[in-house]
Symmetry: C2
Subunit: 422 residues, 2 copies
């Protein structure tokens, strides 16, 4: 059978230039998050198909790369003449890191600190329609705090993430924050039925694209009572993107919203604003919805003008781990869009700090063993100091060879001949 | 459907203690190999099923985790009522990093330096029978030099790998080296038919277990001419594990072996011995076979007494890339057994160098926003110096909480109360 040169559809080969930036980011992420007390953990890339199909993953469950059973189990399934494929598979590639982390925590809680601050960096897979800049395999980078019910979790997650972005030279981004309970209370206050919330939020989510009027039109077209729609949009007209806005919501909604929710959000905003390391804004955004149904409390997202979209987000999901253990465990996480960040750094031709001089030794071919040892010993001494020394056989067109190596960043060239000392 | 807590069969959740060692090794590997001029590259974890089944992978091809087709292609395959599974799948998880690298190089050669020194660290998957200490997902760590026909490649690969092992505090290991062409020449010299080589080598490979007499018995039992067997084993009786041994083989085999092969091996051994950084032996081992059929020249393996087996190996495979491109491209690689190395470090309770003091701030619950800012600002200053500061809500049983955090390595505790200054 012919060998295929291209990677599989929707996945990519990563070239050295991009990999250098990825390696740098991975190192910086681990280093930064560790100063906040996060520990690295890893789960297998393959997850039980039952877990992946447990309705925690929303739309992602339609995008699973499924893994065929093996051996006798496969033979039995094939003999059964399955028309649908579900009997043929027993696993799938994980589509995110949150579901596997919940399984991990429920499996290992006895051996983990409480609360547990987890750092995960790993590939996930989604069989999305291939499109420019979106791949079917991509790296996710999540921090999660499990077992911490207070807003300390939200504050630490936001500070850790924004400190990292600052170290990567990102400025003037915005952390938008909301709370699922505020989202629901605003809908309840306006008179929407609880069964309609999800649908109302889908429309609300379009606020930045279609504006207040667009949202109003769409809600009315969907058949909701005009009175409710007007009351609802009245809230958004009056609310401001700051602590005053949170207080306005608290006062206006009154008993419909637990006062602790607004107070907590206020403390999160004030604490992050007061102790932030990087240059960014944190703003209250009551239109922030976030799709995943598992969120139960504060939710947040990073907006960056240069990207024109979200480069990360997260929130509290206090009920997911209970699905495994039967006991609810508070949990909150923040995920950065690793691939988007790498893309932005590549676009702005990011220079990796601390990359020293790169030296090339060009050596004549057929170097005898003794002379070779001299050269290697010299290289050993330079390499031991952390310097990059690349030994290459001298080519006939030495000028061209040097030009090519210069393009790779080599600036120092030394030449070694069999019969000439240097 | 019930959620499953355990990872899928044969794969494991990695706990923080092991992850800390893995992260340290990954950092050190990248840092060390980069001083030798290697560049990180990455290929997708999913590979074309055609490539994975191209007979390059030997026994590993029987262990592929196969990925089901999706959408209409799956429907069509299922409608075809396939009794075997091949029509149902279009991809599989890679079982090693060598085959994907060959595809990568053939796909991207125009954008890569020549020669190209590649560093790959990534998971591979093999559906092996689960057994203690062997997992179905494991990390591989390979360096390869593509486009370099001379023994400079072998020398640099061995020096880079052994320098790394030295930095990880491994000593007194042995690099065993042989050449597939010597292996074949010794068999030819003894009168075995070329078609019998592979079978003869399978027996030879057992030398360390069954000894010279055992190998002799087995070859005779397999029906080979006694004259050949005696001549063959006579060579192994006389050869020594050093440069003198290589010279003995060169002289004895005469025209059956290209003199350059023995001279090259001699230069490799002398150069590595003369310029090595770590404490280890390099020895000529004419019984070294290495299973993969793709090797064409020098082959090598790392033996470590504390492990009682190989913790890495590699060799020259000049013909694999030609399978993709049609043009043979010289290639040589060295892979270290990352999982085995991590296991050995865990067993000897390896202390990660440079891990500073870990500080815990224990803070009273319901800290008001202003006081919270003070605490966070203090943490910010400490974290900015690279120190680990973990902020935790003070528990009722503070003594127990501290004991637990001490077990995680926290040695400094500071307490913060709402109404007390400190």
């Amino acid at each position: 059978m012919a060998m295929k040169k291209k990677p599989v559809t929707g996945m990519k080969d990563i070239l050295p230039k991009e990999m250098a930036i990825r390696d740098y980011c991975i190192g910086l992420i681990k280093e930064t998050y560790k100063t906040f007390g996060f520990c690295s953990v890893e789960t297998p890339c393959v997850e039980h198909i039952e877990n992946l199909s447990s309705k925690q993953g929303g739309e992602n469950e339609k995008l699973i790369f499924k893994i065929l059973k093996r051996g006798e189990k496969l033979d039995a399934a094939l003999a059964g003449n399955a028309i649908d494929s579900s009997s043929l598979v027993d696993g799938g590639l994980r589509y995110d890191l949150t579901l596997p982390l919940s399984r991990y925590y429920s499996n290992n809680a006895n051996e983990l600190p409480n609360p547990f601050k987890a750092l995960q960096m790993g590939n996930v897979w989604r069989a999305d329609r291939p499109q420019r800049g979106r791949y079917r395999q991509f790296m996710q980078c999540d921090i999660d705090i499990l077992g911490e019910p207070t807003i300390l979790a939200e504050i630490e997650l936001i500070l850790a993430t924004t400190t990292l972005l600052g170290k990567l030279d990102f400025k003037n981004f915005t952390i938008r924050i909301n709370d699922r309970r505020i989202l629901k209370a605003m809908a309840a206050y306006s008179g929407f039925a609880e069964t309609d919330y999800d649908n109302v939020f889908i429309t609300l989510d379009k606020m930045d694209k279609i504006g207040l009027d667009g949202v109003k039109e769409e809600l009315i077209a969907d058949g909701y009572a005009e009175e409710s729609v007007i009351k609802y949009l009245g809230l958004f007209e009056k609310v401001t993107a700051d602590i005053a806005g949170v207080r306005f919501i608290k006062e206006t909604l009154g008993d419909v919203l637990d006062a602790d929710v607004a107070d907590g959000l206020e403390t999160i905003i004030a604490s992050v604003e007061g102790a932030k390391q990087a240059e960014f804004k944190i703003s209250f955004d009551p239109t922030l919805v976030r799709g995943m149904s598992y969120y139960t409390g504060p939710i947040f997202e990073i907006s960056m003008d240069e990207f024109g979209g979200s480069v990360g987000g997260g929130g509290r999901y206090d009920e997911m781990i209970g699905k495994f253990t039967g006991n609810a465990t508070p949990a909150c996480g923040f995920s950065i869009g690793f691939e988007r960040i790498v893309m932005l750094l590549l676009e702005r031709d990011f220079k990796i700090p601390g990359t020293g001089e790169k030296t090339a030794y060009l050596i004549e071919k057929n170097m005898p063993a003794e002379r070779m040892q001299e050269i290697l010993t010299k290289a050993k001494a330079e390499r031991a100091t952390g310097k990059i020394v690349n030994i290459a056989i001298m080519k006939k067109n030495k000028k061209f060879q040097k030009e090519q190596m210069e393009a790779e960043g080599y600036t120092v060239f030394e030449e070694f001949y069999i019969n000439k000392l240097n």
